[in-house]
Structures are given as structure tokens and as C-alpha cells.
Symmetry: C2
Subunit: 132 residues, 2 copies
């Protein structure tokens, strides 16, 4: 079974770096990357996303989480900038950035199959965050 | 109609600060605060949340967004640490941190009633992020 890498795409370098550190604490050992911000400015960059995808181990499935729609567009453009051997293993996940990436990282740490990791991330949309 | 303040509660100072900067760019003029991290360590602190709540203008409704369940617990504890005049205007919103806060900030900038701002934030759970 392939392992799962997670790539965080955010308009904010701080947000992306902070989320990766949080994921690292919650799910040590999971392969994590970020492509966030345009230097200190807010924005995303398809080339930076493509570079992050190519840093992932070549046997891993890659899940991309993003903040805003324009980040998703740059992630999709990144797939066109990477070899099919990378793009074909990459899934842009339509899930909340923080909650989805946390659920995916925890599931990836348990070495669930990639389809299950994606399912856990997508389920983060509906899981209550406040327990009564 | 009261204006809306937004308080971001995150385990990561970087994540919280990055999100506030993103919100400021997307919704200039909206009152924004964060209580994030334990210094450079990961964690949340009810006292810091209470302090952030008390920095909000006293006529504003206050919406709190958070990353993980333990952050929500500290936000709830913060309500017990603040005067009823503050706690009574505060709503802990069960929505995705980034997507909910973005939706709320945009709605608050349009000066929608607080119930509508909360509804927009909660709706971020189900809005597709990838447009086909």
C-alpha cells in the first residue's frame, strides 16, 4: 500500500507553515509539504505547488488541501506543470483546509488506503466540531 | 444593527496570525482578533481568548472560530472568565476555521445581521470549494 503525502496550499505563508507544524505534531511521520504565500505577500503560485508535489516520495499518493478557490486553480495548474508520474498520484481534495488536512494526516498516520484517507478528509465537512 | 467582531482561536500562533492577515485583506474594516498558540508552542489558552474577547468593541457581536475541539473547550472556558456583558454577545461558531471565518468576514463587511453572518459561516461546511 502506498503511503500518503499531504501538501498544504494557502495564500498565507504563515498559515501554511503553522498548519504544517500542527499536522506534524498530530501525525508525526507523515510526509508534509506546503506551498503557501508569495514570499511575505498573500497569494499562491502554481510553480511552487508543482515544486512541492515533486518533493513528495515517488511511491506516495499526494493529497492537496487549499484555502480559497484561486488556490485550487493554481493547484490544478500545477498538475499540468508536473510529469504525469506525479500528477497521476495527486488528488486535490475538496475539504476544509485545516479540518480536512488534520483528518487526513491522522488517517495517513494509521496507514489507511488513500481512498479512505480522502473519505476521512471529506467527512470533516460534516463532523461536529463542538461536542455537546 | 451591531457590527460583528471575529476572534480566531488556533493552536498555532502562525496559523492564527496568517488567517487574520488573510481576513484583513479579504474584508478590510472588519474587527479581527486572534488568540493563538502558547507563545511559539502549539496550544490554546482560555485566558488569552478571554483577553481577545474583551478587546472587541463593546457594541459588537463576537464570533469565535477555532481549529480543534480543545480550542473550543478553551473558548467556552473563556466565556466564564469574561463579564456577562461580553460573554452574552459572544458566539462560538461550529464551522471550518478558515472557510467559516472567511465567509463570516465577508458577510460582516457587508454589515449583515449577526444571525446571517453565522449562517454564512456555518454554510461554509457544505459550499463546494472546487468549481467544476
Amino acid at each position: 500500500m502506498a503511503d500518503v503525502s499531504i501538501v498544504v496550499v494557502s495564500h498565507s505563508r504563515q498559515l501554511g507553515e503553522g498548519l504544517v507544524k500542527l499536522l506534524r505534531q498530530l501525525a508525526p511521520g507523515v510526509d508534509l509539504h506546503q506551498a503557501a504565500g508569495l514570499g511575505e505577500e498573500l497569494g499562491t503560485d502554481a510553480t511552487a505547488v508543482a515544486a512541492a508535489l515533486q518533493q513528495c516520495p515517488e511511491t506516495n499518493d499526494i493529497l492537496v488541501f487549499f484555502d480559497l478557490g484561486s488556490a485550487a486553480m493554481n493547484a490544478e495548474m500545477a498538475l499540468e506543470l508536473t510529469p504525469q508520474s506525479v500528477a497521476g498520484r495527486t488528488h486535490i481534495v475538496d475539504a476544509p483546509l485545516v479540518e480536512g488536512a488534520v483528518a487526513a494526516a491522522v488517517a495517513a498516520r494509521s496507514r489507511l488506503p488513500v481512498a479512505d484517507v480522502i473519505q476521512q478528509a471529506e467527512a470533516a465537512r460534516t463532523v461536529p466540531k463542538i461536542l455537546s
